[in-house]
Symmetry: D3
Subunit: 318 residues, 6 copies
């Protein structure tokens, strides 16, 4: 496949790209044409379809995968596609991973590890609640595996939600080992479902944007409600334990001003909020080091989320 | 009835009071006795039962209403009851309004007015949701009518939740009249149910304290969940409208740092949060003027909730 | 009239516009020309006068209304006027409402309503103070009717100050009805004159920008001083009442960090600050819905003044 | 004079004290008596007048100076006066400096220095404005000389306002010498009148408490208004210069949250706000060192106004 | 040993306690006596030595260990010691652990574990720096082992600094395993020495209070300087690596307002600040659960450091 | 010399400029060329070297001073240099003051004044410490004299650090005269060395950017360490006095959130922090007035560092 960041002026290509945008426009002469933006995981490029009624141009819309035949041209110093033919693709004719950012890790391996942690839980109601969701709710599992953990900031890629959930869960297991007064089953269970509301907060890839629910309600309360309903399914779920689990979810951002309607009141809620924050910040730093151009002196500039100028650490051999 | 703030040293009384506390203790000589605190709406008084095993002392506990025979004595400069007899009362033998703070308004009249506003709502799903709760759920209605709107601060009395709900609803109706782009039915419905979570956040009178749910989850999310479940009962409830109603509830504190997990994103959520805040502050001021000793110069001192020194305004005739 | 947002390349026009800017410049060949920006209520457009000494070009300056003859041309992808003739207009030759944003409501009707509220005030000193200003001070009334309530943000149009004042006054009358311990005359009087300092803070339209007084002193203190002087004119004005009125004006922004030198200490000051804030926010939301392009999903993006992402509420029929 | 902090049990005294409080009470036997608090600059003491109708007890009130004959007794471990005779004094019969905290410096010398700085001002309008106040307004001068600069915090003593004004003026003269782009006359004039509103904000000694104006309006706006009126008396006062002077007064607290309705926008306003703050903090530190018990390790504990633990610096010889 | 919290009125005791305070006073009759406060790890008790010149009263001072013979009396409802004899003890005659709070863990075992982590470090300069301190500097090691990590708040006991250091180091090792882009040696080294400045910030037990250095400089900069000097001892220490280590120490409080002069700019500094904060908060919660009386409903009240109401989590069997 | 802001299209020049940047690039045809940015104190200009291998193009790098022969051309509306010849210069062939911003004052005169203040110090250890640095450490003195006090903001020019240090020292001397309880020698010494860490925080001109140490450690702690080492050189330096000096340096930003790890606890630290802040703000205002275009109404727009709209004050003659 010819990635967008390798195209050169003058080339004629036939490639599959993802259509990020498509708008109708009119030339000064009153002729209709289409402005299109296509993309792959390496970037985006604008293109023009000057004759949309041409038989070689199939109907397609924003968010479709399309195969195009086009010439790469230079317009006012920027490359542009002059698109001659468009074919709309069906699922299976393309590999989404070429078009969307994806996790470095294998999704199924990560999920298997997560299921292993569910298997370790001794408290039967907590384990049953998790199994009802992660084993029996196929629709949820399918969305959960593909979801990102954010629109941008950190873990903004397919599998990002699973990768983040796993990292937080591992850290909570470590904390339960270290601080033995913690209720391990409660903490691990809370870690596993702390961000499940994100499957509703964000739309699926390739869009990966805030849904109406996401903006009006938010993943904290959406996740609270999902867990509350799962708890209600078990008639004998100890009500105090369920409240504690729900509190951990509500309080996992740690501070009211970060969107938690309650500050952590239980040790497990404190532990979870630190694990969540630690993974978020360390992954943000990792992504910044990967994606940001390093300045001469090793500094990466100001990172808004970390609220600091940041730099790569020297490596042992340096 | 002889109110506690009128008792004088040397009196012998037979009166009904509410038992606020009751603890067993041991004298230096190893004899068991009971320390009791009784109260009515005018104040509290400590008392001693030196011979708990006496036949005239019925079994009773904290939060019981008891009829006592006692002598009022002076101990180290403070009045104290020497309790000779105790009879535990049953519901109906006393008038709770003598023991708890109550609204200045008649609860049934306030409730009737509220039901009138529900009757005005045109959007059928919103009206049905409110009727399911305020007409059909007798247990809820019974609690709602008696609940306060706070442990202290403002509206901390029986009927306070209803009185506050009514004031906010009236103000939202006024705003809907004034700003015609507002969705009147949505706004009035949100006003009526914005604080229903408080019936779960606070325990019933006479305790009127935060429940475990209240502290771990809070009335905002508890109310959200109640409305969400009521909405789910109507299969054809327009999902977008339900989300908007739920958002108004979540956002009604106006700011994240005041415990709303989302800032108001809809005009109705903004209107509701102002109506809620305006009533809270003006009622706080009213109660402060009623309860606080006025200093020589008319000032009432610093009010923590209003974050200002406050003073009574001069009256027209002054 | 041909509005600026309807002009097309190639047209020859003869229209009246408002001159927003006019600067002399020199071509590379050393020839003087004029760069002009003209505007109407639909937008602005740049233009060139290549021969300023031509007899058809009358003398004019920034902030004049001018009638121009010009050709609409395309320069580097943007439209531009090639101006051949300019005639400077006198008052009366144009309709300012075509060039400035104006209130949706009739100014005289709004003013009559406001005068009605002054008529309702029973306390004679307060009423006399208002009449001295709104009835007897013609210069003030003329400025007040035309003034905006802000440079931008909300009510940034002619009549905006009157429209805002009226909305706040109506809300304060409602609050005085609802909270009967409020001093109604004081509150309504304070509402009517809370923002009068804005006639000095902002320059008149078409400029509508902060004056030197506005930036150095601000409308809160300017309004305070105006009311203080009006009060001093009445020898028998009760001093305590005058202080209370002045306090309401000083405290109407509610918080020190919003520019009030005192926090509200009186119930009426609290009520006024909420009425002011509620109208400001609900009008901001209304204007945002009118002026902002709605995104696919109904959201309007982040609104800085409301400090939130905002969206239009679904309408009853949706 | 026998100071209150030197009285011993068993003494019989005849001394002049200031009456800080006087309240009527009733014994258990129904007999009326008076509870009195008297004070001097070393402290306060409670006393009882058991027979108020005795001919030796003249009528007197709170805030009177009284000569008393009394026995010093021990009641429950604390000293108390048993007052037998009371004579109410007239002005001149006592030395207020024995009863109120006073400046370490001679008031007339300080005032003469201040007048010298007024004499240095070259700009005629500014100088005339200051002379109108500090030379021609005898009532003001009399109050100004006796006023404190605060109820407590710093400079809370007679002459404190003058002492603080002088310190700020000296520092502003230094700054005008150092930063020659500053408008020296404007800055010195602003320094001299920056706090004149305090003569209205605080009541006179011995009360020295916030007045109604002080709480509702505050010294910043009160001072603004005094200067504005003084400026208006000079018909030819340059309006821009007057606005600048008024701005310096409004902005002299430096930040909105400290009660200035405007942030400093002029260099002179910045200079004044620093001079004001520097003197306030250094005087607070001086008073803390004088009045606070030094702990073993030299530390003085936490100072709320300085928001820090503070300690005395070691002296050169240490 | 008879602990202070077990003493009863009327007992005659001969026990060793720690003298927390000792002050000379004078009775009304002019006779000198001593007011003493003695303590052990269960609490404090006041005592009187009415005849300090008695031969049975050896010279002693605050912070001495003393053996006393005394009678336990009741004075105004509180127990008090009437001390007859005092003998000042020498080191070795008492067990400090009976008088000071100590870690639950064995200090030598903890220290051995810490040395093990130093042994794991591969980077030779970092390891040598740690060995210079933790192996070769006997005076430091002796202080480090006994020091607390705080005056109060959390880890305020002997061995607390070591216990906290160990917990942070373990967590950093876990993070280095989980986020492989972290420089493990740098992170573990920084963890081990992040709080070494506390041996200078706090005085030794039994005082355990802030030193003059502690208050004026603080443990962050004191620790920075210690590490900087250790680094300077190795001529070939890579300067960039040393700066990174020093940065981790400076930034380990995570935010400027918590006393770090720099925000974390390196991934290791972020990791360390989270590990430090997580241990501090989880240990605070543990101590609160151990030391605070649980209210009826399981809640422990408001915890200032955690800035939240807190409660014990229900245990698995509940 | 022909300054960059005077160059016109079409000129052929031979001038010495400072090379701010130099990057290799490739044309579409695959030919290598150099993009260069040159500057002097009046501004920067981009240039192209189309034939880098030409014999007339000597080797040079970023931060070199170069003499160029070039033609001034217009490219897309902006001037650009077409560079034909480049000669790299040696120190002495150019006058740095033409290329870097420099202080208005003579560096040697400023330094002499500073040395005079050192000469006035009576406390021998403090004076010796300063002489060790400002007299005996030639390398430091050379850097100190040339350093700026900031990358931008204020005093961002050669000699800026010295100019700022001098202004702060003068103000501290004034404060020591005014507040006689201050330890004058300590305060003046602290003023002189409060910012010496900036010689390490910022790289030398022409770069004048944050060094790695500057970003990771910061000038406050770097300066602390320098003074601490100087103090350690004097065996008999009174330790308490040294701690006080070091505290003044650490606390000179006044607030934790401005990067001081400790709040001022000593009067001298308070005095120094005000002097530092006052000079910083007044110099910022001076530079803003010099560098910012004044708007029609005299206003200079919003200044981020002063956090306010600012304006020039009217001058006496206005």
């Amino acid at each position: 496949m010819k990635y967008i960041n390798t195209l050169r002026e003058g080339e004629n290509i036939r490639e599959i790209y993802f259509c990020k945008n498509c708008q109708s426009a009119v030339t000064k002469n009153g002729k209709e044409y289409l402005r299109v933006t296509v993309g792959d995981k390496t970037g985006n490029l604008d293109g023009m379809i000057w004759d949309p009624s041409d038989g070689g141009i199939e109907n397609f819309e924003k968010n479709d995968y399309i195969e195009i035949a086009a010439e790469v041209r230079n317009f006012n110093g920027a490359l542009q596609l002059n698109i001659k033919r468009v074919r709309k693709l069906r699922d299976g004719e393309y590999d989404p991973a070429e078009y969307m950012p994806v996790s470095r890790y294998t999704i199924d391996e990560m999920f298997a590890e997560l299921m292993g942690y569910i298997g370790e839980i001794n408290e039967p109601h907590l384990q049953r609640l998790l199994l009802d969701l992660f084993e029996n709710d196929r629709a949820f599992v399918s969305e959960f595996k593909k979801s990102s953990a954010a629109k941008s900031v950190h873990h903004g890629f397919m599998g990002g939600l699973l990768e983040h959930t796993l990292a937080v869960t591992r850290m909570c297991r470590f904390l339960a080992d270290s601080y033995i007064y913690l209720n391990r089953d409660l903490l691990v269970c809370a870690a596993i479902c702390h961000d499940i509301g994100k499957v509703k907060e964000l739309t699926a890839f390739p869009e990966n944007d805030y849904s109406d629910s996401g903006q009006l309600i938010g993943h904290i309360v959406l996740g609270y409600e999902m867990v509350s309903q799962l708890g209600a399914k078990q008639e004998d779920f100890p009500p105090k334990l369920l409240r504690e689990l729900l509190h951990c979810i509500l309080a996992h951002h740690g501070e009211l001003e970060f969107g938690s309607p309650k500050k952590p009141a239980l040790a497990e809620a404190i532990a979870l909020s630190f694990a969540d924050n630690t993974d978020a910040k360390l992954e943000t730093m990792r992504e910044a080091q990967e994606n940001t151009a390093v300045m001469e002196n090793g500094w990466l500039g100001f990172n808004k989320y970390l609220d600091s100028n940041i730099r790569k650490t020297s490596q042992p051999e340096e």
